[in-house]
Point group: none
Chain length 264, copies 2
Amino acid sequence: MSKRSLILEAATELLEASPTGDVATRGVAEKAGVRQPVIYRLFGDKDTLLAAVVDQGFARYLAAEQAAEPTADPVADLRRGWDQHTQFALEHPNLYRLMAAPGPACVPKAIDEMHALLRATLERVAQAGRLAVEPGRAADIVISANTGVALTLLTRPGTRPGTDLSARVRDIVLAGVLVPEASTGGTSPPVTRGRAATTLAALLRRESPCALSPAERALLCEWLTRLTDDDGATPTPADGGSRTATRTHESRTGGSRTTDRSTT
Amino acid sequence: MSKRSLILEAATELLEASPTGDVATRGVAEKAGVRQPVIYRLFGDKDTLLAAVVDQGFARYLAAEQAAEPTADPVADLRRGWDQHTQFALEHPNLYRLMAAPGPACVPKAIDEMHALLRATLERVAQAGRLAVEPGRAADIVISANTGVALTLLTRPGTRPGTDLSARVRDIVLAGVLVPEASTGGTSPPVTRGRAATTLAALLRRESPCALSPAERALLCEWLTRLTDDDGATPTPADGGSRTATRTHESRTGGSRTTDRSTT
DNA sequence: TTGCTCACGTTATCAACGATACCAAGGGTG
DNA sequence: CACCCTTGGTATCGTTGATAACGTGAGCAA
């Protein structure tokens, strides 16, 4: 095994085991069985070394994802890609932070590869007539939102445990990027049980006089919150694919002023 | 001016002017006109100092935003908040990176304040009947996506210049979180408490699987019936202006959906 | 006044870090 | 053999975060 690979492997292991998310070149050299200046001879810089570590880690991840990608349903692939992205971030927090929020030396290679892979999937989605925006822009949109969700989950683990933030944002973003699936019937009624509960809870929170006692009201609000969670059917991964676009938001809420006119 | 403020100010200026996004305690001390150990006496740690810098910077931003917030149209406030968030990130990249991707010492205060402010706006949106998910979760969703967009714009300035990524993701995310305007096609639904209770009760009566136990459900239905009875009560005792604003936004701007499919 | 504590600051220093200068084999090639 | 280039090692520099030890002046009791 080449010394470069040894150093890369040692740096990867130390980085993933580091509580601070940082590694020292001396530690890497010692673990790799070489002297410190060898690192600078092979990589030239610590940032370059870390960039190589990130690139290698993401290359592995992307290879694994690319291997299992092509399915008959490109939209399902899209959703699976989002979930794997989030899962990878949670499993490799330090690596992911280095990629998502780099310092001076950027790491464009990993992101670009990821962008390319996502774009390929989006291209298949577009060929199926399901994509609503240009694939490149859609890839930017999806990657941005996915990165934000992953970083939120990383840096704030106490963010409402049990709330599957990633799945929620995924459904929202994909629904905004995809063409709504053939809506059942003419106008699909978007009034679900969860929304009704949300509206009622908000109204209850505001107004004071009520037909219920304060204790009843408190319990009612708690129940309404629980009802807010399930929008009718729990999003099981088996059925979830079809629900992606059932949320037809056919009127883009407000100001697409910049989207239509100026893009040319 | 206290030495603490001097140090904070010096650290802020150095941080914003730093190309690497990092500052040295010696530089901060020199600029503040004090000796280095004073920093450790006042803050105890470099991470704590940086956390204080981030908190102060975000407090200023949040104060400015909070001052200009309350408008008649809460949805418009929501959109403006998103844009100001993105703009602030672009204007203060180092500060924003420290907040969005912190190291060992987290900076929960700034994010929590931001979350609270956004949640207040979302509460007003919910009271207008425009919110589709629980305000707390909606705040998580919006902040996550907004952070991801801001970090993407920061770390990759070459991301398709001219494409207003932030506005696109904003429209998508808000469309996924809000109730579609004029969903029933006709007039805006008068969001009274009794009507929401009626809707929810009807939905509960129809669908069987539920997050509540049968006993809880029965009691909930009874309460909803009682809430339905007081339908004639005043919908808004104090602020009557909020409801008039639910329709201010124009409905649509032509199909932005299938416009640029053919770009390949 | 004297003696004491305590908050505040300074000087000097440590340990770890990234990075570099300089040297020492090894191995082809003429 | 001499020559050069690659590869690696030794020793070291400058900087950084952080700390120990000491000094100083205000407030306060006896």
